[in-house]
Symmetry: D3
Subunit: 254 residues, 6 copies
């Protein structure tokens, strides 16, 4: 079961509130690159984990950490909305140009949430849980997790660039760091299981006779007027472990 | 920040796994009456709470409890899927009637999740976060919370009726009990704030001159061939506190 | 069956069209706090009502009134979009600052709807019907309805603050008034049925032996470093009617 | 504004309740071919209509009729769910085959709605309002309406085939008839405006110099190994009115 | 199967990048009037087509063309985002007014997509595939296709008006032209099959005894205080072919 | 631009049509593990690709191949629906047990699509385009692509197990093979760029001073009553390239 303690995982400060940045931060809460997604993805993977206890524990432990990231971001959004105008009078006092009184803010921060974070992305689209990727196959799920953390760190880095607020930059530098670690954490599970080669093709338990192997090792070029691009995908040994993996990849046109 | 301990909040046992009941239980995870919803609703309300610390703490504390409810339900779904057929051979061995080999299960439990819970409802529709109701107005939010717990207890009671598994009935009797308490918990906040009458109309901070009070106290009958139904809604003193609340409600036809 | 008459329920005037306010008004049409939601919620509850005729009639009658509210809001949006620019030339004539030619408007009012209302919220997200709460349990449904009207009045009050247009203020003061009444209307149904205490816990028909009553009357504190907040939720008699309700609520740490 | 009278537009009877047919009927309520869609589509088109009063009145009048269709279907669903099992005991009494106790019903009719209609389709997916097509262009909107009625009559005809209940067949024969009329009603508007030729291309107000007319009258064959199919689309005069419409259509390969 | 060649179907140039126009163009990619929709609609109709080979080929061929339209629009969006600011410093250098640094752009073009097109509309709402209309009935599907092309041309015409960029105007004039043709292409299928009259009512295969013909030919006036509007919908011969179609339409009040 | 040729990429045969398997196959079309997703994901990545031409060509080429996979699956669904009952009479002739006449099929295959494929998953939920992952960062996008192919092969392997139809097994063995290759294709891009270590942390362009490196290399244990699991994630050198990557990972409790 879950518990809560009062201190944030990392202190969150905002030097100068900025409703537009509050809107941008929403992407890190309710976007597909955001923290609700990883928290719920690891949580559901943990609940479904049936094998190695260490993986299940790690999934649950990091799911729990990601919940704390939502919490920090929720504070960051609220702090950026402190003092935001809640009436026409206030808004026009701040921005005498009549036709853009909201000044780039999410209007629902003003109308719907009472100047607080919402589980939506930077366009105001609510997060939907179909983005919780959990197949029950460890290899597939670890790749999905590394992907999510990669997307998360891309986003956090871009948010870092979109603010000049020292408090926010400090906070984002923490999120960037944790995403750095989490990317490696999930890829380390694949290393623990024998490395990527041993896992490919995912799932590595599919019997060989369920696969039409004539079609397993060529790049298909569907471009009518271009040669297949040369590269590792069309030459050299297979990246996968199974017996037929000695065949080189090639390029083919159907 | 959040923490996790290994024991479930309440033990979850299944006497006889039942994939169809696994599908039904999904409503309590990813349905609008379900636990993801209340966990996230209380969490976002807590992050936005700016006033009385007790309310914010209670919101965060109960959000945390609801996360533990998701966890128990995730286990319940997985236990109900133990031994479920994962191939045509297994399924037809169990069910010789060819045209319904899935036997009422959610096909995605078999195809997508590896016999584990998913953040979807009993129809397989993913939960979407637009159902996190959080306005920043305590009166409105407490009503929303009591509503969510009412829906949750209606659902848990119906699930109780749909199983004859002793383990599941025991587990559901716990959820029913917690929903009993939580309904009162949120209504008690309204009592703390002076009672429902003091809160109505919500928000009770709207200035009187923002309201066209001629239209505040009559039942409008839009039925062409029926009298307005008689009852408390059309007679007796107002349920709200404000000065004009001495006027009786009446029925009107426009 | 339904009928229509030409006059609006209340006159809608706009002194000075404002495309940005048209965008904000959309929240009252297609937001979760909006009029499509209440119209459809009461309508579906009415169609499912099997008991007291008065409740069913009231649900259908007020559903019908809410359809008329959508109608008024649709007019309000169209009036606010009168004369809005529909080309780059018009827009830049109004706003010489090149990089914000839309001036805070919803671009789809200009591109998709022909300067008319759409069934979307202030972020342009379409309303989805999962927000029609209707369980068939009167207690749960009346709470859901009071919640919806509370959210509606919070929104209408905030919209009132976001305009200085006399026509719009007058129109919103009418909506605020009707939300005042409707909150009480649904709570009056609970009073008619014997008051909140008689309904709690909802559903009040769940047999006592379906509930593990040891867990029905304590506040669970999941906060590791905070005391349970003191208040009505942790002391005093139960708010519910059933036999065991004499036990006082308490706070507990698991 | 809207009003309501007690009688259904057409009597709805069910000889023998059938929960599976209740699930199928949901497609006619909350499917894209369903009645919520047409009611809301005509309603929003009416609210946006700025030109010919007759069209606006017809849109509002038929929107109102479609609301009455939702109402009839809601009754039809509720009648088909009368006496449906609400517990494991009842269900297994009806169906001794253990692994499909729900017997093809929508589980949420049993768990969520209290044996009543919901605003969802036959898969339980909630209707979302993005399907309200309303561009403000009469030609485009009338085509959209005829399309909706065509889809509606295809569905009603298929539902007719999926039941042997005399009550349901009678009810569906009424819906089929109204869809017959409504298809013609909207196409008659196009006839009123001068016929299809005068409207094409829609919108017929786009200035000729906004169109690269070299590309306006040929069928483009993107199939590498097939001739362009011969037919009216590749020969004969244009179906559109504008000056260049005398050029014949042809087939082309890029 | 599908193939690709390097040249765009029509050249796409942007004279002066404009992030706000990039946002508007998204409606033509991921809006309900957009190209993903028609590509997928024709593709799914083609896969389901069982009758006349010419129709199936045409559906597949034009689906393929529409994929090329998505491709052109994707380039147009990317070109409009060239040089867009990706940091606070860049943005404020361009726009010294602090409170609207994004200047009307879609924030997710900056945060999520790396200055590229996304499958979303102008509000940032992702396209959902429920808008792929395909019933298997040719009459209904051709009307749906003509409707989609009508909506598409309305949108392209409005986009044309919202830019003063010569490159973009040239590109849009091509899309406008193709929509002109495609509207006629699908209506020509109906002409091939004997004309609209022979198809109405859609589906024209519903047996006459499945229809309650008393209700097939009258306009129902649900407006209490207005006469039924006079027009082709209430007088003259039926637009449909079937035997009973000689009866004139009339207006009726229930 | 795109082109089409008549032959399927691989022949699709069904020995014995099975409407229930048609429903399962939908997951491979419209599920998050399905072919619409990869086709659109690679397509949008290709349109946004600004660097190495080989990657852009490969993305476009494989997007095109995935469109051909949708096409094959569409045929597979239609073939499995051949001869499916379209009326109550047919259905009950096949299945005399009254209460499950649809026999596990998707009711919308029968009601909505005319026995054809739809862009929905195995629960009938439409695909939504938010699942097109495309950040513009090659490392992140290649991981996302390998993840998608891993999910796809897990699904295809499970579908293989759920059928005893030789035609379907043969077809699925082809899809399994192509997923084998595509997993390696995208990982080979990472190898081309210098290997995973050179890419980590993704994005590898974030300046070191944007990251709070104290927090970049420890596993955080949020489990109160469990030790941090030992493993590669908590010991050994970093998997990432950057200067600080020599520090070993460790486990920490906050």
């Amino acid at each position: 079961m879950f518990h809560h303690s009062a201190k944030l995982q990392y202190p969150v400060k905002v030097d100068k509130p900025n409703p537009e940045f509050a809107m941008l931060l929403q992407q890190a809460i309710g976007g597909i690159e955001g923290e609700i997604r990883v928290a719920m993805q690891y949580f559901f993977q943990a609940m479904g984990a049936r094998g190695d206890d260490r993986i299940r524990d790690m999934l649950m432990s990091t799911a729990t950490e990601e919940l704390s990231h939502i919490e920090m971001l929720g504070h960051a959004v609220a702090l950026n909305l402190e003092g935001a105008p809640v009436s026409y009078q206030e808004a026009t006092a701040k921005d005498p140009v009549m036709n853009a009184i909201l000044g780039g803010a999410n209007p629902r921060h003003l109308l719907s949430s009472g100047l607080s974070a919402m589980p939506v992305n930077a366009n105001g689209v609510p997060f939907d849980m179909s983005h919780v990727y959990a197949t029950g196959n460890i290899g597939a799920d670890m790749l999905a997790n590394a992907t999510a953390e990669a997307g998360g760190r891309v986003l956090a880095s871009r948010l870092y660039n979109w603010t000049d607020d020292h408090g926010m930059k400090d906070f984002l530098s923490f999120l960037i760091a944790r995403d750095t670690y989490h990317q490696q954490q999930w890829l380390a599970v694949i290393e623990e299981m024998g490395g990527m080669k041993s896992q490919l093709p995912i799932p590595n338990s599919t019997p060989e006779d369920h696969e039409n192997m004539q079609h397993s090792y060529y790049y298909l070029n569907t471009l009518l007027d271009k040669e297949a691009p040369k590269g590792r995908w069309a030459e050299g040994p297979s990246l996968a472990w199974i017996s037929h993996s000695t065949s080189a990849s090639t390029a083919l046109r159907l």
